[in-house]
Amino acid sequence: MLLNGARGAALLRVRGGGKNEMEHTMAVSLRESVQLVSDPRNLDASVEEVFQLMLGVDCRRDGVFVLDEQQSVTAVVGFGGLLSGACVFKSGSSAAMKIAAHMTGMEFSEIDDTVKDGIGELCNMLAGAWKGKVPNLAANCGLSVPAVITGRDYHLHVQAPEFKLNHTYRFDDASFEVTIICDGLQ
């Protein structure tokens, strides 16, 4: 799975504001605040906020993510601008259907387009909430539209990231994994 498409789309979005915005972007750096940007508590707070507000469920950090189903659902939202990388959500199919059910009030028996749409939107909100925790990041980092992948036996690989946060969470009896990958920081 390649991140370049999502990241490129996010970069185009952050550059969409024209010359003045670019000048502003170039004057700001995240290098000196890398500790703040990579603070794992920001990711936990973002996940808890999104699940509480949009699904009405309490979500807590859990141990290691174990995928005990053959089919999984992965959503990717790219970051572009001062920070490049991606927010990646991954769960088994039953957790994905449970999340979509909470979001829509509907019941699902398969990973259909509505489930994929819901998981993509969830990942979009996670990415937005996470970057919103750091003001310079919120203003100077764009988001791509979500890409959703379903299937089995696939692996996400990013070469030598600047930093990576990889947390597992649980609500009810469902677990999922959220990963923030930063492969470029200005």
């Binding site: 507000l53 979009n124 919120a138």
Partner: protein, 127 residues
């Protein structure tokens, strides 16, 4: 409250449903909802339907929410109708761009039904 005709523009059908549910929870009843998946579809809808309220995402394929706002103004569609942006983009710069493009309100995702109620009802009462 009389019938509120609302256009919801978002590339996510799930998010359109969530926004509609939030509007109903806010007490907007009777509510007539028109949906569009991006700004271009939103403009087509505005040419065909009269609405009292527009809620739009920003990050969308084909035509994003800011361009949608600019086109509403340029084509003089829905004059006087309040537009509220509902988006994950929450920086002051994004809010400023949206207000300059014609938005009257801004709601950050994730949101509560109470936040939607607060923003939307004040705009409808002012309109």
């Amino acid at each position: 409250m009389s019938e509120v005709r609302t256009l919801i523009v978002d590339d996510s059908s799930v998010m359109r449903k969530i926004v509609e549910r939030s509007l109903r929870q806010a007490g907007l009843d009777p509510l007539v909802v028109y949906e569009a998946g991006n700004g271009a579809e939103g403009l087509d809808m505005l040419k065909a339907k009269q609405v009292d309220l527009i809620l739009s995402d920003i990050n969308m394929p084909s035509m994003d929410g800011l361009e949608f706002l600019r086109q509403i103004k340029a084509q003089n569609l829905a004059p006087g109708v309040p537009v509220v942006m509902i988006t994950t983009e929450s920086s002051e710069e994004h809010v400023k761009q949206a207000i300059l493009a014609g938005a009257r309100g801004y709601i950050r995702k994730p949101f509560t039904a109470e936040q939607v109620k607060e923003r939307v009802l004040s705009l409808l009462h002012a309109a």
